[in-house]
Amino acid sequence: MSTAAEQSHTAGGSVLDQVGENIIRHVSNSSLDHPLIQLPNIWGIDLSVSKHVLMLWIVAVLVACSVIIPIRKYLQQDKPQPKGWMNVIEAVVKFIRDSIVKPNIGPKFTDTWAPMILTFFFFILFANGIGLLPIFDILGAFNRFILDIPAAPPGVEDHNFINSLLHGGATVTGNFNVTAALAMITFFAIMVAGSRAHGFINHWKNLAPHGLAWPVYIILIPIEIIGMFVKPFALTMRLAANMTGGHIAILAILSFMAIFAEMFHSTMAGMGVALFSVPLAAAISGLEIIVVLVQTYVFTLLSAVFIGMAINVHH
């Protein structure tokens, strides 16, 4: 075993060394030094298009084409009567409004905040869902076997557009920066909601309950301030970690094939493990579909709950 490992080390690292790196490359953004499209810095912000930025655009276009444009068209009709795809959208919108927004935010502010919660819902749903489709891997197979463009050897930067897309099928919401941006919107929405319902000063007074003995406030006020920042932080981590975790699990189980094939120095061992790992990976992909729906629901629900907490102060 040790001699084999040494041999394969001289041949560019053993499979075990490559597996972890490969998985991380799959779920993380493409490196900042070699983005897909190089764009100049403007005001110190790197505007280059990386893998996740491209996916973000694809998601935006898809949401626009399948949700925004049909609704605009529908509303322009003289006598709006939903049919086909509009029925689906209407059912989803009604569900979000009646069972997420209304019970948590209250009937008075439902119409104010339902659009934002719905935007969250559709964006996260599409972003999570697209992450499950291995479109880039199919593109990679096309590139490799039909166009005959080989992958660059490890350590060399790839300049082929599709090759640098590879290790993709990227979930945008698996990137902490994207979910942090979404949670920031919730963070400010909480403040705006509280200020609109109670006035700016009263919103901050409402953070801690009134009428307690003063020593309690010494503990309570820092806790409430920390809690204010923990809410969006937990939202960020929950969504990103859930979306990344499932992908890592699928890839790790599929990598067993390569690992076992190397451990026993035979292709048959890898094929034998495939009998076990491919169905398991398929089953986890099925579980991922549930996770996608649940995490979308959770993010929108928790956003609604936090906004509702600022509006309906209990104490």
């Binding site: 937990a234 939202l235 981590m237 929950r238 970690a241 975790g245």
Partner: protein
């Protein structure tokens, strides 16, 4: 000795799973019991169970992220 942090991460992940498992198990058990006693209140019980369930899950996920950070950053 330089790989000792992996040991800690393994134990930590196990503790996270135990904690989250106990939490989710207790929630689900109580919810099932409540629904069995009062089937007509099942909607309210489900709604009440959902939020703590997700908060609990969030804490477990946070723990896992920090475990991953220990591995990646040593």
């Amino acid at each position: 000795m330089e790989n000792l942090h992996l040991f800690g991460v393994g134990i930590g992940l196990g503790l996270i799973v135990i904690g989250a498992g106990i939490g989710i198990g207790r929630l689900a058990a109580s919810a099932a019991e409540g629904i069995a006693r009062q089937p007509e209140a099942s909607d309210k019980i489900t709604a009440a169970v959902n939020l703590p369930l997700f908060l609990l899950e969030g804490v477990a996920i946070l723990g896992e992220v920090f475990a991953l950070l220990i591995v990646l950053m040593k």
